[in-house]
């Protein structure tokens, strides 16, 4: 695992998130549930809690949009870059964007939202890319069965190095 230079991390235990624009590929309920599951992978192992809000500015602002979407890194259409996220910090820190030119699914078809969201939230919590092919934070997408999915060991160790363990 790796961390960003300076090891930015959230200095509080409750992190808010808000989804400002949804994908038409899934119902809003499916997206809300999946995003919640992705955050839960982390709150299972570190002492942070995540709460969805529906108005105002959250710590982590989330949207689905293709092409130009309000930052300096426009998406590139289907395939290629799937999503990106900022490291922890004020203002845009932690914000997470999904390319809506992808086909988002909850299965092995298209792009599995849980796996990509969990990867991006790793960045939003301070994890850099890992060279471990088995790690969630490996840069390229590869589908794995998400039934009963837990954070891989490399990622768990990386995020616990920043925030400590949920059990301590």
């Amino acid at each position: 695992y790796g961390h960003f230079p300076g090891k930015p991390r959230w200095k509080k235990r409750l992190i808010t998130y808000r989804i400002t624009r949804y994908t038409p590929d899934l119902t809003q309920r499916e997206v809300d549930t999946t995003i919640g599951q992705a955050f839960q992978l982390y709150s299972d192992v570190i002492p942070l809690d995540f709460k969805q809000i529906y108005s105002g500015t959250a710590d982590i602002m989330i949207l689905f949009k293709g092409g130009h979407h309000g930052d300096f890194y426009p998406f590139d259409g289907a395939g290629g870059v799937l999503a990106h996220a900022n490291s922890p910090g004020q203002n845009e820190g932690g914000d997470t964007h999904f390319d809506d030119d992808e086909t988002w699914t909850l299965t092995r078809r298209g792009v599995n939202l849980l796996l990509v969201a969990a990867h991006e939230f790793g960045h939003a919590l301070g994890l850099d890319h890992s060279r471990d092919r088995r790690a969630l934070m490996f840069p390229t997408y590869q589908y794995v069965n998400t039934y009963g999915y837990k954070l891989p060991d490399d990622d768990r160790r990386g995020v616990q190095a920043l925030y400590g363990s949920r059990t301590t």
């Binding site: 230079p5 870059v81 799937l82 992808e102 990509v116 890319h129 060279r131 390229t140 997408y141």
Partner: protein, 83 residues
Amino acid sequence: PTAPTSNSTVSPEEQDLAEEYISQFYSDVGTKNTSLRRLTNNTFREDLEAMQAFFGLEVTGVVDNETITIMKSPRCGVSDISR
């Protein structure tokens, strides 16, 4: 600066893809403008070697089919180089 002319074993289109990929994920910050980020042979080769090492490929500094396969894979948009 001159464009990379490494001993590529791939098509010109794939060589272009490789240059774009290296510019996007392995070059320094602040060089988003394509006209500013034309890579020299040396920096391209060094960055390509860094990419090959990151992905556990044979580090050759040459764009080969295995490297292109990785570059064509869907991925996260965050750079592989810590900024």
